[in-house]
Symmetry: C2
């Protein structure tokens, strides 16, 4: 039987709140068994760009990564955030290693092909090096991935953190029984965005189509859920969506996805 591997993705909202992040990392260090953390960027990159006089460039809710912004996300995601998260986990005796996709060639991507929109230095994932990541886990090392990849031709690329999490989850499912947990500011996928008690506890593919048609799932939740179903259809055992407390208390409400 395959060993269980828990992959947890945290978003900007947790990273933006220092106390919440510190509490989360303490909880994460206590998650038993094999685990991987994937973190998003948060507002620090935007603040840094603004301090340097750069305007963020967004199209359809997605950041356009020009050369100047690529430098900033590389600094903030792979440097400031990734190393501080790693140091915090080390404090809690979790033997974390901070990684970008370039490190040990863990995640190879390619620069997104320009069709209608030129996303700049945005990377779409080609291959997750599951053997290398497994070697870290086998050595009791906990990988902490930021959302920076490379093209194996010397170019750093900026990649969506939700996608990084699902691509790693898919690749690791060859050797592990993978549970993928997306932590964000809500208690789960909601029937009513303003009612924290309206968590939809179970969503399968059919229900997802129905919720999409009824416009209950819309905007930023659509790519997140596409990532989730993509993971489930490609070997991942379980996908959960909820607030960061679900990693320590599974009695609370959250959303479980299945196919």
């Amino acid at each position: 039987m395959k060993s269980k591997l828990t992959i947890i993705k945290i978003g900007g909202n947790i990273i933006n709140d220092e106390n919440q992040l510190i509490g989360f990392l303490s909880d994460f260090s206590q998650v038993e068994g094999y685990k991987i953390l994937v973190h998003g960027g948060g507002k620090r990159a935007t603040e840094m760009a603004s301090s340097l006089g750069l305007e963020p460039k967004m199209i359809g809710g997605r950041r356009i990564t020009d050369a100047a912004n690529l430098e900033i996300v590389t600094m903030v995601y792979a440097g400031l955030l990734n190393k501080n998260i790693t140091a915090q986990l080390q404090k809690h005796n979790c033997n974390a290693i901070g990684l970008s996709g370039a490190d040990a060639n863990c995640i190879k991507a390619h620069k997104r092909i320009v069709r209608e929109i030129d996303y700049g230095f945005a990377g779409d994932v080609d291959k997750v090096n599951n053997d290398t990541i497994k070697a870290f886990l086998d050595n009791d090392i906990t990988p902490v991935f930021c959302a920076i990849t490379h093209d194996k031709n010397g170019q750093i690329l900026n990649t969506n953190a939700d996608t990084i999490a699902s691509e790693i989850a898919k690749a690791m499912s060859r050797d592990f029984q993978v549970e993928l947990v997306y932590c964000f500011e809500k208690n789960g996928v909601m029937m009513n965005i303003d009612d924290e008690n309206s968590v939809i506890e179970k969503i399968n593919k059919e229900k997802y189509q129905q919720l999409k048609q009824e416009n209950i799932i819309a905007d930023g939740m659509l790519p997140k859920l596409e990532n989730c179903f993509d993971a489930l259809q490609n070997g991942v055992d379980k996908v959960l969506i909820g607030n960061p407390d679900i990693i320590k208390n599974k009695n609370q409400k959250f959303t479980t996805l299945s196919i």
Copy 2:
């Protein structure tokens, strides 16, 4: 017999010149056998601080690392420089992994004790985790260290890159026959700083004392050479100082240190 390990440290002057850095990384990727790269910071951190309206704080040629400057060096050294160097090496099929001391707890340090001067978040090295670094080398992974450490209590620290290189060299000498190479802008230690042909080819401890007394070795070269002799007295086999070309062409002049 122990296997040979080459540890190469490059300074700011190489990093500041993009073409020189790219050429050096291509040469580094071709160095045979086990190898580790340690890189300094260069002027990007100073430029970044200045762009953000921060004044660099220096005492006796050493940077004082306050909280704001610590964020900048963490971003620039561990993020921008470390990941771009790693991605370049990956291009040349050198399976590099970018590391700070926090990653897999490779280098534990403590905040420098305040005596006459408060250096701020400057870290003095306590322990290099040689077993973890050896495990990377055994898996054909080439560590690339930036000069950022941690205190195992959640605090990132800024550490001198020359010292990082010699501390890693000392620790790795338990399992390897270590050659430590300091690459900088000169051809070696010079009798006359203005004459590139005046390289002193061999310096032992006695000669070092003499050159110090004659004021031929002074200023920034003093701590560099202290690091070198410290390494030699603690198990390191060989220490070389020269320009970056010595890693591909040992017919040129450079300085070899011995005890």
